[in-house]
């Protein structure tokens, strides 16, 4: 459908309606008083702020409905500041709305594009000046300049190289080796199978030799979750079953999706749930993914006991723990 007609004629700006304060000096006086009172409320706010800063002890807590226990010092500082600022704003706006001129003004608009003669003058200036530089006539300068400018951008990128080391093979490795003892986290105590009851869960780390300190980087890949269920509840192939010990099974706690700690274990269903993106793993089936975005099971650590009866790793993880990366060999 096209515009068959011109639209209705524009009736023009509606007639100006005077406000009360414009015609009635009494109303104007009243508005003036209101603005003044609003400014005074702001002054009160600042006074409250100063009082709260020096006069209210920081150890006092008061109960606010919905918000719960709130520190009185911070609360009244904030309320004072809020009052002081808010009422300045209200005063200014009220002033503008009641007392400042409210005649609508019309400003004219020009088209954004310049006049044609300015545009052509501009274009010819550019052409002329570019010609003076002679870039078009000297292709050798043009090409070498392009090359130089292109290459100079490489140096800042090169400078960023020392931001970090190369990953080497680190993403594939953890501190778990054959014979490494499992120690509690926190506590760093070696544990025996009897320490974990059926239905129990424990977070463990690999035991570190004397003098070696555990950093967050280590925890970020070594964290292992021990879960004990009744051995007959396992639904594992013989190899994976041999990685368990008396119903105790060990998984990397670092999610195979995006590396969050897979911390929620539901005892009745034997499911592990990652609270970040809800990937759900079935403990009885070697942490097979049964729901959510994770594409791989949690890596399983083969465990057994050493001569003193403490739980140890029988071998390192046989795959990289944590989220995927390009070089990861996921067979």
């Amino acid at each position: 459908m096209t515009n068959e007609i011109a639209p209705l004629t524009d009736p023009g700006l509606p007639e100006h309606i005077h406000r009360k304060a414009d015609v009635d000096p009494k109303a104007a006086k009243k508005a003036e008083r209101q603005v003044g009172i609003l400014f005074l409320l702001s002054v009160l706010g600042t006074l409250l702020f100063i009082y709260a800063y020096v006069g209210i002890d920081e150890s006092i807590f008061i109960f606010l409905p919905v918000m719960g226990n709130t520190n009185a010092h911070q609360l009244f500082l904030g309320l004072g500041l809020a009052m002081a600022l808010f009422f300045i704003g209200m005063a200014a706006v009220h002033w503008a709305k009641t007392l400042m001129p409210d005649h609508e003004v019309i400003d004219h608009r020009k088209e954004q594009r310049s006049k044609d003669e300015d545009r052509s003058a501009f274009v010819s200036t550019v052409k002329e000046r570019a010609g003076e530089a002679g870039l078009g006539r000297r292709p050798f300068i043009k090409r070498t300049m392009g090359l130089a400018l292109g290459l100079v951008g490489l140096s800042p990128i090169l400078l960023l190289r020392d931001l970090g080391p190369l990953p080497e093979n680190e993403l594939n490795e953890t501190n778990w080796k054959a014979g490494t003892r499992l120690v509690t986290d926190p506590g760093d105590r070696p544990i025996k199978p009897s320490d974990l009851e059926v239905g129990g869960v424990a977070q463990v780390q690999p035991a570190f030799p004397e003098g070696k300190e555990r950093h967050l980087d280590d925890i970020a890949k070594d964290s292992v979750l021990l879960i004990r269920i009744r051995p007959e509840e396992f639904n594992l192939d013989p190899e994976r079953l041999s990685w368990t010990y008396e119903g105790i099974i060990a998984f990397s706690k670092i999610c195979s999706h995006m590396g969050c700690a897979v911390a929620l274990y539901e005892q009745t269903t034997k499911h592990l749930l990652c609270p970040c993106h809800q990937s759900t793993f079935d403990v009885t089936r070697a942490a097979k993914v049964i729901f959510g975005p994770a594409a791989r099971p949690l890596p399983q650590l083969a465990i057994g006991v050493d001569s003193e009866g403490y739980l140890v790793a029988k071998a390192p993880f046989n795959e990289a723990v944590g989220p995927s990366f390009w070089e990861r060999d996921s067979k």
């Binding site: 007609i5 809020a82 600022l85 808010f86 400003d107 925890i219 995927s324």
Partner: protein, 529 residues
């Protein structure tokens, strides 16, 4: 001449003799701004940015951006003696041992949430009214840039305290970097200075958070405002308002008072929220360690949609030739957001291509008069909302006693089905509203007064619209759609090529309108009465 006027004259003279600014200042002080509540959304963004600069500067005086391990000895007893990073300890110090520190932290966080919310609201206003059309495409692109940077800046900001919740967010960001094909693990090692989490990350994002991005913000916001200033503000249609004028109030004094006052109001409300509404109580989360996590891990709302997309992604990975590609991370974490933000940035050009309209526009559209655009907006919002819902699926599940799996499946299906549905419904609503407008112009407004005629018939009295209202409902132009591409005489099916055919098709859909009343129809109706 009063003494005050004389002083003012002297000051003006002093300044002008040194700058020659009198002409420019005169023009500036009388510059006209149209009045509408929706124009204040952008102002809220600007003001919360200023609040962020002020409160953020205060926080830097005490915050220690370091991952050095310290033992906490401050006054918050539950964490006493615990090992933690200096960043976390100093955040606790600000919260418990600096007077007004917690208040400032909470004002800073609330201001950031308001900053993002106002930015999104402002974006919607600009989109639905067509304010992005020529000549304002540059400003639209700057706006999309600000929005993207705002999301990054907010994420880095809430990551700085190095608490358990924010550390988990960083872990997820690291996994996204690591998932990039070929360069992923190298990039992750460079960003974190080695294996995750390393010991340099906080100090690095600190520099980016307080210097780099705010600097870019300042530059972009300045450019954004200069363009608004130079191009003059758009205005809503109405009597006396045309493409050639701006109707409103002058900068001095009315707009100065209103806009300046509004800054204080926004600041006051933010301070009130900071005073009464606790936000990000990091002392409850504890220090970050990669082996732990708190249930119900949630990002701030402007990241929630992204997290929701990641949560609903199907478990897809490609394993080949000893390499792994994580589609379950790349698609929701990078590819879809990339498409969304690129599409958003390009939309002004796409629309002008679809309509074939290359003219300047300073009068805003009523959303109903651009049904296709409005429907597209509703569709995008629906997409984001479904993703956002899934970003909070764990909290929704616990609050409403629902199964998380059901919510996940609802959103997985919903994100594909609901947006197109929203498009169709919105477009129909727009066309219905156009039809209602047409009825009103032709037959007047329904008054709700029933009258019984002498012969017993009931009629409802219709009142003709005021000329102002009638003008408002008919002032918009209805562009003809581009001619469809038809086979030419020689039987060539697409003489102009597939592109032109697509353009004509889109134009047909885009320009679907309910015809405005013609003057002939108006006259006929008048004769009738």
């Amino acid at each position: 001449m009063s003494a005050r006027e004389r002083v003012a004259g002297q000051v003006a003279n002093y300044v002008d003799e040194r700058t020659g600014a009198a002409k420019w200042l005169k023009k500036t002080l009388t510059k006209v701004f149209p009045d509408h509540w929706s124009f204040m959304l952008g102002e809220v963004v600007l003001y919360s940015f200023i609040i962020l600069l002020l409160s953020g500067t205060f926080l830097t005086f005490w915050f220690d951006p370091s991952m050095r391990e310290v033992e906490y000895e401050g006054s918050y007893e539950p964490l006493s003696g615990l090992k933690m990073s200096a960043a976390y300890a100093s955040t606790l110090h600000i919260s418990f041992d600096v007077r007004g520190g917690l208040l400032m932290r909470q004002i800073h966080h609330w201001a950031a949430l308001i900053f993002m919310a106002a930015m999104v609201a402002h974006l919607m206003r600009v989109f639905f009214t067509g304010a992005f059309r020529k000549p304002r495409e540059f400003n639209w692109i700057i706006g999309v840039g600000l929005l993207t940077l705002g999301i990054v800046e907010g994420f880095l900001g809430y990551s700085l305290p190095d608490d358990l919740l924010s550390g988990t967010g960083i872990r997820i960001a690291e996994a996204i970097i690591q998932a990039l094909p070929v360069v992923g693990s190298y990039l992750a090692y460079f960003v974190f200075g080695g294996a995750f989490p390393g010991e340099v990350f906080i100090q690095r994002i600190y520099t980016v958070h307080i210097l780099l991005i705010p600097g870019i913000f300042l530059a972009l916001i300045t450019a954004h405002l200069m363009l608004v200033w130079y191009q003059k503000h758009t205005q809503y249609p109405g009597p006396g308002r045309t493409e050639k004028n701006v109707v409103g109030y002058p900068l001095m004094p009315v707009y100065m008072a209103k806009a300046g006052g509004f800054f204080f109001i926004v600041f006051g409300i933010t301070a009130f929220l900071g005073a009464v509404a606790s936000i990000n109580p990091i002392w409850l989360y504890g220090p970050y360690t990669p082996g732990q996590i708190s249930a119900g891990s949630q990002p701030d709302w402007y990241m929630g949609w992204l997290d929701g997309l990641v949560r609903m992604a199907p478990p897809l990975e490609t394993h080949a030739f000893g390499h792994t590609i994580s589609w379950n991370i790349l698609i929701p974490g990078l590819i879809i957001p990339g498409i969304i933000f690129t599409g958003m940035a390009l939309y002004p050009f796409i629309e002008s291509w679809m309509t074939g309209d290359k003219r300047e526009h300073h009068l805003l559209d009523r959303p109903r008069n651009a049904p296709n655009r409005t429907a597209l907006g509703a569709m995008s919002i629906t997409f984001m909302l479904v993703a956002l819902i899934n970003g909070g699926n764990d909290l929704i599940a616990t609050h409403f006693a629902l199964s998380i799996n059901q919510i996940m499946w609802f959103t997985r299906i919903g994100i594909i089905v609901l947006p197109p549905l929203a498009f169709v419904i919105t477009k129909r609503i727009c066309l219905s509203l156009q039809r209602a407008d047409r009825e009103k112009v032709l037959h007047g407004r329904e008054t709700g007064r029933l009258v019984m005629l002498p012969h017993g018939e009931f009629i409802e009295v219709h009142e003709p619209l005021s000329p102002e209202k009638a003008y408002l409902l008919t002032q918009h132009e209805q562009l003809p759609a581009l001619e469809p591409v038809v086979a030419d005489a020689n039987g060539v099916r697409n003489p102009k090529g597939a592109r032109a055919k697509l353009q004509a098709r889109l134009s047909q859909a885009n320009q679907e309108q309910i015809a405005k009343p013609t003057s002939k129809e108006m006259l006929e109706i008048e004769d009738h009465h």
